[in-house]
Amino acid sequence: MRRTLFESLTHGPLTEPPPMRDDAALAELARSVERAARRLLGRSLAIREVDAGSCNGCELEIHALNNAFYDLERFGLRFVASPRHADVLLVTGPVTRNMAEALLRTYNATPDPKWVVAVGACAKDGGVFAGSYAVTGGVSAVVPVDLHIAGCPPTPTQLLQGLLSLLEGGAAA
């Protein structure tokens, strides 16, 4: 273990420079987010991830945001275990009927001001699962959505771009 730890001191970090923020996402956000609310929270946001029926692909890439290459926390963004500690709900999946109530309850348990970010193609409109008896057809069918991050699944870089837009959107708005 000593060798591994020592090496961390002598080798440079793997962490990559932040990506450019996503201008399309930014434009969408500017429409939906109040500047005042953002000022209240500053540059630090707590994120609660909710899987509302995804195939787990999005979760894998959201997980990757925590690895040494993307290091999400350097931007003041971190994942929290409870919606009561969260400013942002990061929701994946087409929202199955079986998860709709749980998602709504999670949303209601999140204090204001809050944002909902829908992640992935099926969170937008149900994606490949649209039309099934078992899905509602996207996050906005159940809770109001402030930002969509596209992709199936979105890469960690795309996720970062979207989340950075959320952080910096206020300044540009």
Partner: protein
């Protein structure tokens, strides 16, 4: 040795490949159930169809596979679960989805249907669901000093949703009961009537972490049904993707198990290894998880020009970094203290359930579809299947470690002997004759275990497709593994299983 076809009597259905499907009598059905209950055969899957139930069974040799089908003229069939517990959840799902009733079943409660749908028995008669939601009774627990801890469906981490009902006596878990189905998307209903291309997309999104394995299993089933053979180069590229997928997931899991024992250093370093694999996959195949790359008939993507070099480079780095992490895992007493002798699953239980993957192989069950079904190109590759007997969290970690080493060797072999030629053959005929019909059963060994795909094609479309995730036969064992352990060790046990919710819920 007795073959299953000697035991099960019935009319063989034509056009079902590569193993036989028999229309059996109720008596023959019971005989097969008896074979499984007495340990001479293993349940691979049990699923519904229009007025019929199908049961895939493997005998004493791994390639002795049959599908037994039983007509249900009065909407019921003799319960398998009554004698053979691994069938219980399958039957509950069949009843919820198709309305076919298992007679004599020990547990009549619904499964997957959490009473939120507008429709009852969506794959069967499809009646409108009753307005009033039914309540779900958890199993009763009696005794002094017991308390219950409900967890989920929304969990604390970035993981899939499901409900766990713990009954604990102080710190010790007396019973865990799982309730799943929250991510049920109705994949099987979306597949009914779908084109092969659309069904392939859905199969690849049944469980995102196993998208390659699912696509391969589905492709195997389609290719069997249509009696077509993908080119050798496609076979090898599929295996290359499958091994990269296995590596990425095993790295992720090894790190995550250690993280749940509060040893985050391993997690950080394994996360780096996982990322290196995904980046190599993105360079070589154009997608980090390699979604939509495997299709019936072959693969969609040729290796990128710098793909081989990138994978070799990554492999060299992994080979250099990984041994030190194994050493770290093995020499950290505080970590071993958590993983060794925790969450033990007995060999008998694993055998009874026919659990695959690291859950089975960590408890002495030597089954790996790559070796035992031996689908190409694995029939000509040199590798071993690690098996351990301890059955604890530690054993499941070590199986993964050993499999990582095997996958290194497999990737090297695949790259060294990559056949030239086409990467796909056309599915179905172009000359206007009746497009592909037939039935096929296929397997693929994902990182978690063997994925089963069964389908019936009619005129180039999917009439019925069933996908069985390895988790169906592992989830029930998690309930057994945690018994007698402390509540705080549940995340550790759970992560060592890493069952799929989406793959199970469909």
């Amino acid at each position: 040795m007795t073959q299953l076809t000697d035991i099960a009597r019935g009319e063989e259905v034509s056009g079902h490949r590569p193993w036989p499907r028999l229309r059996v009598t109720p008596q023959s059905w019971r005989t097969l159930v008896n074979e499984m209950a007495e340990g001479r055969a293993t349940l691979l899957g049990l699923w519904g169809d229009a007025g019929e139930v199908h049961m895939a069974v493997v005998g004493e040799t791994p390639r002795d596979v049959i599908v037994a089908s039983l007509q249900c003229p009065d909407g019921s069939f003799p319960s398998v679960g009554a004698l053979h517990p691994p069938a219980i959840r399958f039957e509950r799902a069949i009843h919820s989805l198709f309305g076919l009733k298992p007679v004599g079943a020990p547990d009549p409660r619904p499964w997957l249907d959490l009473s939120f749908w507008n429709v009852q028995h969506p794959l069967g008669a499809g009646r409108p669901a009753p307005v009033a939601r039914s309540t779900y009774e958890f199993l009763p627990v009696e005794g002094e000093g017991l308390h219950q801890i409900p967890v989920g469906p929304v969990h604390a981490g970035i993981i899939e949703p499901g409900h766990f009902r713990f009954t604990a006596n102080g710190e010790t878990v007396a019973r865990l009961e799982e309730r799943l189905g929250y991510v049920h998307k109705g994949i099987e209903s979306l597949m009914a009537g779908a084109t092969i291309a659309r069904a392939t997309t859905l199969a690849g999104r049944t469980s995102g972490d196993s998208t390659v394995a699912y696509a391969i299993a589905f492709a195997h089933a389609v290719e069997a049904a249509l009696n077509i053979e993908p080119p050798p180069r496609a076979r090898s590229l599929r295996a290359l993707m499958a091994e990269l997928e296995r590596l990425a997931n095993h790295f992720g899991d090894i790190g995550a198990v250690c993280n749940d024992a509060s040893f985050s250093l391993m997690h950080a370093h394994c996360g780096i290894l996982r990322e290196l694999v995904l980046r190599a996959a993105a360079t070589a195949f154009g997608h980090r998880l390699m979604m939509d790359r495997v299709i019936p008939g072959g693969v969609t993507a040729e290796l990128a020009s710098d793909g081989i070099a990138r994978i070799r480079e990554t492999l060299a780095e992994l080979r250099q970094r990984f041994p030190r992490l194994i050493e770290l895992y093995d020499n950290t007493a505080s970590l071993q203290d958590r993983t060794a002798a925790t969450g033990i699953v007995s060999a008998a239980l694993v055998r009874q359930f026919g659990a695959g993957g690291y859950v089975g192989r960590g408890s002495g069950r030597n089954f790996d579809a790559r070796k035992d079904i031996a689908y190409p190109p694995y029939d000509r590759l040199d590798f071993t299947v690690p098996v351990l007997d301890a059955g604890d969290v530690n054993a499941r970690v070590w199986i993964r470690i050993r499999e990582v080493e095997q996958s290194f060797a497999l990737v090297e072999q695949l790259l060294a002997q990559l056949p030239e030629g086409a990467i796909a053959v056309a599915v179905g005929s172009s000359s206007g004759e009746r497009l592909g019909s037939g039935e096929g059963l296929g397997f693929a060994e994902g990182f978690r275990g063997d994925v089963l795909a069964w389908l019936r094609l009619d005129g180039g479309r999917v009439a019925r497709c069933h996908l069985r995730d390895p988790s169906w036969l592992q989830w029930p064992l998690l309930e057994a593994a945690i018994e007698g352990n402390i509540v705080a060790d549940f995340p550790l046990c759970n992560k060592s299983f890493n069952c799929s919710y989406s793959g199970h819920d469909l």
